[in-house]
């Protein structure tokens, strides 16, 4: 049994939320540069250039990429041989409180959806935990802005629905998001499971590694191609690059159902994985 002190978790989370807010991932820099080559619209290219410059300023000066420093969503994988000394949720939320204060990050969480008083420290996070084999602790930390979250959608299809019908739903969701959710997008798509499972998968897809399943890869590529035909483009000003990446996660489901959830993420796709 490996014992992990809650203070270590707090320290790692405090650091992770800052890094995720200040630093664009290497992978995204590459995608931005690739998009700059592909994009046909002049205004679209201007937007991409601004985003690259923006990421460099954020990184150099340790200021957030976006003023909406999000609500924090965390997927925790707890090894079966790990014992956490102290309360895990408390440790995570304390880390967020420290990180958001130290990093001068915006506090965007309200205590009650009706009264809407700000909690003042960007807590609580939305936390999902899962037991996995091993003696490690993994956190996938996602900084989720509301602009993109508000444009996300779920639909319960008939089990006989075709892939084309699913793509049509995804395209319509992206069209509705249009310029609102800060394109070019990264789409997390959850297919299967139940109503809430599909939504959860669509969120998890945003922080997951690319799938190795050939059928899913082909499907992702087809979606990407179609999404880029919408003409929305960078900043929604019109262009040929509307999405940078599509990530699909699937799960078994009931013979009568086929839930599909689309979680839209903005171009900054702020997330980080840490293993203790």
């Amino acid at each position: 049994m490996r014992i992990i002190d809650k203070e270590i978790i707090t320290k790692e989370i405090a650091e992770a939320v800052q890094t995720a807010n200040f630093s664009l991932s290497e992978d995204l820099y590459e995608r931005f540069n690739q998009a700059l080559k592909q994009e046909k619209s002049k205004l679209g290219k201007d937007v991409l250039k601004e985003l690259i410059k923006n990421a460099q300023i954020a990184e150099d000066e340790k200021i957030p990429i976006c003023q909406d420093t999000g609500i924090v969503v965390i997927f925790v994988e707890i090894g079966e041989d790990v014992f956490i000394e102290g309360d895990l949720n408390e440790a995570i939320n304390y880390g967020i409180k420290i990180g958001y204060n130290e990093g001068y990050l915006r506090k965007s969480v309200v205590e009650d959806p009706f009264d809407r008083d700000n909690t003042g420290d960007n807590t609580p996070a939305v936390i999902y935990t899962e037991r996995v084999p091993g003696n490690k602790l993994n956190f996938k930390v996602l900084i989720k802005g509301a602009g993109s979250e508000n444009m996300s959608k779920i639909k319960m299809f008939n089990p006989t629905a075709t892939k084309d019908e699913i793509i049509e739903f995804i395209i319509n969701t992206v069209k509705k998001a249009g310029a609102n959710a800060c394109p070019p997008y990264i789409l997390g798509i959850g297919i299967g499971g139940t109503f809430e499972k599909a939504a959860m998968l669509s969120k998890k897809a945003l922080v997951s590694d690319k799938t190795k399943n050939d059928q899913v890869i082909k499907f992702e590529q087809k979606i990407l191609k179609e999404v880029n035909k919408t003409g929305i483009g960078p900043g929604g000003l019109g262009g040929t690059v509307t999405a940078l990446d599509i990530k699909v996660l699937t799960y078994p489901c009931h013979i009568a159902s086929l839930p599909v959830a689309v979680n839209i993420n903005c171009h900054a796709s702020r997330h980080i994985s840490i293993t203790i």
Partner: protein, 182 residues
């Protein structure tokens, strides 16, 4: 092109959807809660804490400033949430709106009727945009924190004209041009 505040009707009429504009001068920040309050004040015929004549409102809730910084990261928030409150502000003299994302038909009509203009700043370019802000002061509703009304002085703040005073819409036009689906 370079553009300076106050945003008089004469200046507005020169702007066309798709123009790249670098704005200098003064802009107010206001988002959801501040809009709700301004709207209620006008409805109740009360005095506003800001002068709307030829003014520009920027929809943003900045991140906190680090010590020595004028303002934290400061990019646009999504505009449609302000749609309900916008026509009445335009009727009361407001000329410029800055945000991201399309506006309702009502707002577009009101922009045209009142000879106003809607600009987009690049969503998610908050660090870059904050560099063009040279002064920042909270002038109303400090209790709203990030949502307070601030008066910003900007220097060559980069914008694109989305809805001009002639009824043109860059989002519609630009996206249609590259749409390959139909």
């Amino acid at each position: 092109m370079n553009l300076e505040t106050p945003l008089t009707e004469k200046k507005v009429k020169k702007l066309k959807a798709g123009d790249r504009v670098y704005l200098s001068g003064y802009v107010y920040t206001a988002r959801d809660q501040a809009h709700q309050r301004l709207y209620n004040l006008i409805k109740n015929k009360k005095k506003l804490p800001i002068d709307l004549k030829d003014a520009v409102i920027y929809y943003t809730g900045p991140a906190p400033a680090k010590p020595g910084q004028i303002i934290g990261a400061c990019g646009p928030t999504t505009s449609y949430r302000m749609d309900k409150f916008t026509p009445i502000l335009l009727k009361n003299g407001l000329k410029g709106l800055i945000g991201k994302g399309p506006r309702s038909e009502k707002v577009k009509k009101s922009i045209k009727e009142n000879n106003a203009v809607y600009f987009a700043a690049t969503g998610g370019a908050a660090a870059l945009l904050s560099k063009t802000i040279i002064e920042s002061k909270v002038i109303a509703y400090p209790e709203l924190n990030t949502e307070a009304i601030r008066l910003l002085k900007v220097n060559k703040f980069p914008l694109v004209v989305i809805n001009d005073s002639y009824g043109n819409d860059l989002y519609e036009k630009g996206q249609k041009k590259y749409n390959e689906l139909r």
